[in-house]
């Protein structure tokens, strides 16, 4: 391949400067602070401080509470990502086929997009309230002895349901525009070759949607890891018995409620490394299978 050499100019640097500045102020500087704090044993008011190497990591990572929380985070994130993608894809495919009143269907499916996670959590909390919650009553009426306060499975069900509900509409919008971007000609040719719509979907539509799906997967994993914080905080708060405590919620409770800066910094550094590793994995191994 022939390489084209352009003359170097300083102008592009001016264009990227604002972005670089934002990353530096809102990511690099706080991340650096977190790494520095994670090596310190310091009282909350910053009066005395000592450098302790990896003590904070040993104290806060190598214990049952952290491992329990890590386990839940993995299960929770996988389920939230899978179900919010699957349901959104199903809805998008169906909404795309509707001929009459399709725009009102689409608008209604997008509505929940505007709801912030803590608000979704509060709404879910009301619906699962043991005295006035309709969903709580419905679950029990169906013969499920439902009690999210005293049953770890039920509590997990509540937070996953709310997190998925909140995210489906975001995914729906992307899948729908992805579907509309598939050339009509390709679909018509496929119809001539194959009668089964299911087979057509899996062999033609789904591979063509792969770039959208991959992008959404990255976004959804990040959502499940971090943004569901607001949902956990307004519903279970990690209960019962720490069964629904995600890693980011634990960072918050230890640091912001418990005033243990070193310990929560160490946990956030580990969390940062986990997400970094996950992102590298996604781009190296999964993105290879995606054709743009």
């Amino acid at each position: 391949m022939k390489r084209v050499q352009f003359e170097r100019s300083t102008v592009p640097y001016f264009f990227v400067a604002p972005q670089i500045a934002i990353i530096a102020v809102f990511f690099l500087w706080p991340a650096g602070q977190a790494i520095y704090q994670s090596f310190l044993l310091e009282d909350a008011f910053g009066i005395s401080s000592q450098f302790v190497w990896f003590r904070n990591y040993e104290d806060t990572i190598l214990n049952y509470a952290w491992l329990q929380s890590a386990g839940f985070t993995v299960v929770f994130s996988s389920l939230v990502t899978f179900f919010s993608l699957a349901i959104a894809l199903l809805l998008a495919v169906k909404a795309n086929e509707v001929l009459h009143g399709s725009s009102s269907y689409k608008t209604m499916l997008m509505w929940a997009y505007a709801v912030a996670p803590p608000v979704a959590g509060l709404m879910g909390n009301l619906m699962f309230n043991p005295f006035i919650g309709d969903l709580y009553a419905a679950m029990n009426a169906m013969g499920w002895d439902f009690n999210q306060k005293l049953d770890a499975f039920d509590a997990g069900f509540v937070v996953i349901l709310i997190s998925v509900w909140k995210q489906v509409s975001v995914n729906f919008i992307f899948f729908l525009s992805g579907l509309q971007g598939i050339p009509k000609g390709v679909m018509e040719a496929a119809t001539l070759d194959c009668r089964s719509p299911t087979k057509r979907f899996w062999t033609i539509t789904f591979p063509l949607l792969a770039p959208t799906t991959f992008f959404l997967m990255v976004i959804n994993i990040t959502y499940a890891f971090f943004e569901t914080f607001g949902i956990i905080d307004t519903t279970t708060r990690g209960a019962p018995g720490g069964a629904t405590n995600t890693l980011v919620y634990k960072v918050y409770t230890d640091g912001f409620l418990g005033a243990d800066l070193g310990g929560s910094s160490a946990q956030s550094v580990i969390l940062m490394l986990m997400v970094l590793a996950l992102t590298v994995f996604q781009f190296r191994f999964i993105e290879r299978k995606v054709h743009y």
Partner: protein, 435 residues
């Protein structure tokens, strides 16, 4: 990321809060508090009344969110050298602020050195020592002081034909009758506070080494004892028999169960009295926190929950004069009595208590006196409270243990052993951090 934005927002708030001062001729006194809802309105009234009563100082009361949020805001402001003059810190956070050497100006010294004078004997016995150091010197001024009480639905008890229980043995006798009458017998709103800390005070049992943590940060938790294991084995039995309702960690969810008439009796705070009067549409009464006859014949008093006001170091003498002046106003019998009446929190001085009695307040509402009577019951060796570091996290460990007991996830001894291990690791971290 949410957390980072949060940090920056806090820092920004601290800067704005700090720079707003010093624009008036009167010396401004910043007071950050955690009193929301009706309580917040009362605090605003206190500030207005104080400002109207004199012209030298201007008190600015700012609501900073819940107890933990307020403490975090205070910590961020202190680190940014923009600390408010007065901050409200709750019971579980007391060790954090008191052990940070040189962060606060002890209230006893502040009052004495700024012409107000201070005598700890003016305060009722239940509040005198909780926010004091090991030499009994008061560091924080008790502000909203409450104590756990048993609330009961009068109609429910009448329907079952029973009296409110004095002891847990009595409770076991009446619970089946309440169940028959269609009620869950009991719920409670704060198991670390009521079924652990005050359980030890009521039965005069030590809850941590090093004099409940007052003498040193080098302390170990002593919750894993036979009495606690017996009590929680019983609580689990009660739950299984349908005598006890657990509606989660949130205070309000359990209180709602009582307000909705699902449970007949509820263990809450004396500070809940004012709110319940408004929300419950039935007659209710209050009585003392029950105890186990099998553990102690004559129960001891309880100690306070709630929060205290601390004054940060680093302000001018003139400003501290203002703080002292406001504290004098706040602890005056009239101001304490009105706070007591409006909220249900107990008056902290004997003079205020006497005023409430002479005004005949308890003749009309005898239930409002139970809290202060319970706090004034004879104290024992272990009724003064506790001073334990990272106690917010220890309470989380306790909640976890209790939920594991109630869900049947762990046996009672297993849950206590795990909680002890987790708590002691936290205490060791705290000791190494603050020494």
């Amino acid at each position: 990321m949410k957390l980072k934005q949060h940090i920056i927002a806090l820092a920004a708030a601290a800067v704005v809060g700090g720079s707003a001062s010093a624009s008036f001729a009167a010396t401004e006194i910043q007071w950050w508090h955690a009193m929301g809802g009706r309580l917040g309105e009362v605090v605003a009234e206190i500030a207005d009344d104080y400002n109207a009563s004199q012209s030298e100082y201007k008190l600015v009361a700012t609501y900073k969110g819940g107890y933990e949020d307020t403490m975090t805001a205070g910590i961020a402001a202190f680190r940014a050298k923009n600390a408010p003059h007065i901050i409200q810190v709750f019971d579980a956070g007391a060790a954090t602020i008191i052990n940070a050497k040189g962060a606060v100006y002890p209230v006893a010294d502040l009052l004495k050195e700024h012409g107000v004078g201070f005598n700890s004997q003016d305060y009722i016995s239940g509040v005198r020592y909780f926010y004091a150091d090991s030499d009994d010197k008061m560091i924080g001024l008790p502000f909203n002081s409450s104590t756990p009480l048993l609330y009961y639905n009068k109609a429910a008890l009448e329907k079952a034909g029973v009296e409110a229980p004095k002891t847990w043995e009595d409770f076991e006798a009446i619970a089946p009758k309440l169940k028959e009458a269609g009620y869950q017998a009991l719920a409670q709103s704060h198991s670390p506070w009521i079924f652990s800390e005050n359980f030890h005070s009521r039965h005069n049992i030590q809850l941590a080494s090093a004099n409940n943590g007052y003498d040193s940060t080098d302390a170990k938790i002593m919750y894993n004892n036979e009495h606690m294991i017996m009590h929680w084995t019983k609580v689990k039995e009660w739950l299984d028999k349908g005598w006890y309702g657990y509606y989660g960690k949130a205070w309000g969810d359990n209180q709602d169960a009582f307000v909705q008439g699902k449970v007949a009796m509820w263990l809450g705070s004396s500070g809940s009295f004012g709110g319940l009067k408004k929300s419950a549409d039935f007659e209710f009464g209050t009585t003392y926190l029950p105890y186990w006859k099998s553990i102690i014949d004559e129960p001891k008093g309880t100690f306070i929950g709630g929060a205290a006001l601390f004054s940060f170091v680093g302000h001018s003498d003139e400003e501290y004069k203002g703080v002292a002046n406001f504290f004098e106003y706040l602890t005056s019998p009239e101001s304490q009595f009105s706070w007591h009446k409006e909220t249900g929190y107990v008056p902290i001085t004997t003079a205020a208590y006497d005023l409430a009695k002479t005004e005949g307040y308890y003749n009309d509402t005898p239930d409002a006196e139970i809290g202060i009577l319970q706090l004034s019951q004879p104290g024992g060796e272990w009724t003064k409270g506790y001073r334990l570091g990272y106690y917010v996290q220890i309470r989380e460990a306790m909640y976890k243990a209790y939920e594991n007991i109630l869900t049947g996830n762990s046996s009672v001894p297993e849950a206590f052993a795990e909680m002890e291990k987790e708590s002691n690791a936290l205490l060791e971290r705290f000791h190494d951090t603050y020494n």
